[in-house]
Symmetry: C2
Subunit: 195 residues, 2 copies
DNA sequence: GTCTATAGCTCGATAGAC
DNA sequence: GTCTATCGAGCTATAGAC
C-alpha cells in the first residue's frame, strides 16, 4: 500500500509546532487527562511547566487554541499509526498492523488516550472537522475495506471504542501493560473476524 | 434468576433522593454532558432550573457532591437494567436481555451516557467505589458467566466500552436511533459469541 | 425552599519592562 | 521568551431575610 501524499494544508500538523509549543501541549495533555479540559486552568499548565501564565500565552493566544492543538497532536499520533500500517504490502497485513498499533497506543497512553477526543467541547467539533473525518475514513477503509453504509460506520466506531475504552476502563485498571495488550489484541481481531 | 436482595447500605441509591434533588441531578447531568463537569458552574445549573445558586446549595453542599450524586444516579440506571435482566429464568435469556438493555440505554441517552462516568474526576474514584465494583461484577457475571482472570475483565470492559463508546462516537453521529440500535445489538452479540 | 447580597478567590487575558 | 502586575469577570460558597 502506498502512503497517499496529501497537500500540506490537509495534513493534521502543518509542521509548524515549535519546541516551546510542544512542551505546552505535553503539559496540557497530561493535565487535561487528569482534570478534564474544563477543569484545567492556564495557571495549572504554567505551574506544570515552571513558568508564568504570560509565558504560556506567548505560545497560544487562548485556552481554546491550546485545547485544539492538543487534540490535533492526538489526531496526528493516530494518523502516524495509519501511515505506518499502510507500509504493509497487503491489505490484510496493513489491517493487522493497524490493530497492533492501535492497541499499543491505547495501552501505552492509557491515562491520556481518548480523554481529549472524548471531551464534550472537543467531541462536538470532531464530526465537522476535516482532519478528524479524514483519519476516521482511513481507519475505516483499513479495518473494513470498502464495506459501505451504517454497518461499516458502527463497526468501525465499536472497534475504536472497544480498544481505547477498554484500556481506560476501571476494570482494566489493575492489569499491567503486557497483560492488557495480550488480551486486547486477539479480542479486537476476533471482533473483526480476523481469526 | 433471582434478584439478589442487598442491604440498604450497599445499594446504589439509599432511596433518599428528594424531588428537588432529582431536578438538580437531571439538570446537572445534561450540562455535564454538554460542557463537562469542570466546565459546568453552579450558576449554569441554577439557571437551567430557573432558580438561584443558593437554592441549589440547599440541596447539595458542594459541587463535588452534585457530581457524585449524578454519577450515582447513572450507576443506578445501569443497575436497574441488570435487575431487569436477571428476571429472566435462564442465564442465556438474562444475558441477551442485559445486552438489549445496555444498547437501549446507550442509544436513548447518547448525549449523556458515559460522559459522567468517563469524566476524569469521577473515573479516578470509580475503581475504589464499592457500588461501582458491585455493578461491574454483576455485569461481568451476566455477560461471561464465571470466566475468571484478566481475560474476563478485559472482555467485559470491551463490551461495555464498545456499546456505549460507539453510541457516542462521532462516526455514529448522523445515524438515527433505530438504525444505531439495529447495528449495535447484533455486533455486540457477535462479540460475545452469542450468534 | 427561595431570595438578595456579598465575601474571598481564581479565572482568562493583557500591558509593558527586561 | 520570560517576568511582574493588573483588569474585570466569573467562580464556589455563605449569611441572613422572607
Amino acid at each position: 500500500m502506498s502512503t497517499a501524499e496529501l497537500p500540506d494544508t490537509q495534513r493534521v500538523n502543518p509542521g509548524t509546532a515549535t519546541a516551546a509549543q510542544g512542551r505546552v501541549i505535553a503539559a496540557a495533555l497530561d493535565l487535561f487527562a487528569r482534570h478534564g479540559v474544563g477543569g484545567t486552568s492556564l495557571q495549572m499548565i504554567a505551574d506544570e511547566l515552571g513558568v508564568t501564565k504570560a509565558a504560556v500565552y506567548r505560545q497560544y493566544k487562548t485556552k481554546e487554541q491550546i485545547a485544539l492543538a492538543v487534540a490535533d497532536a492526538e489526531l496526528a499520533r493516530m494518523e502516524a499509526t495509519i501511515d505506518d500500517a499502510e507500509e504493509e504490502q497487503s491489505w490484510a497485513g496493513a489491517r493487522e498492523r493497524l490493530l497492533i498499533n492501535m492497541v499499543n497506543l491505547a495501552v501505552e497512553r492509557r491515562q491520556t488516550v481518548g480523554v481529549i477526543l472524548m471531551d464534550p467541547g472537543i467531541a462536538r467539533l470532531a464530526p465537522k472537522n476535516a482532519s478528524f473525518r479524514r483519519v476516521m475514513g482511513r481507519m475505516r477503509r483499513l479495518l473494513l475495506g470498502n464495506e459501505p453504509g451504517p454497518d461499516g460506520a458502527v463497526r468501525t466506531a465499536m472497534v475504536i471504542a472497544a480498544i481505547s475504552g477498554a484500556a481506560v476502563h476501571p476494570l482494566a485498571f489493575d492489569l499491567d501493560d503486557d497483560t492488557l495488550r495480550a488480551q486486547l489484541l486477539p479480542l479486537a481481531k476476533r471482533f473483526l473476524d480476523l481469526t
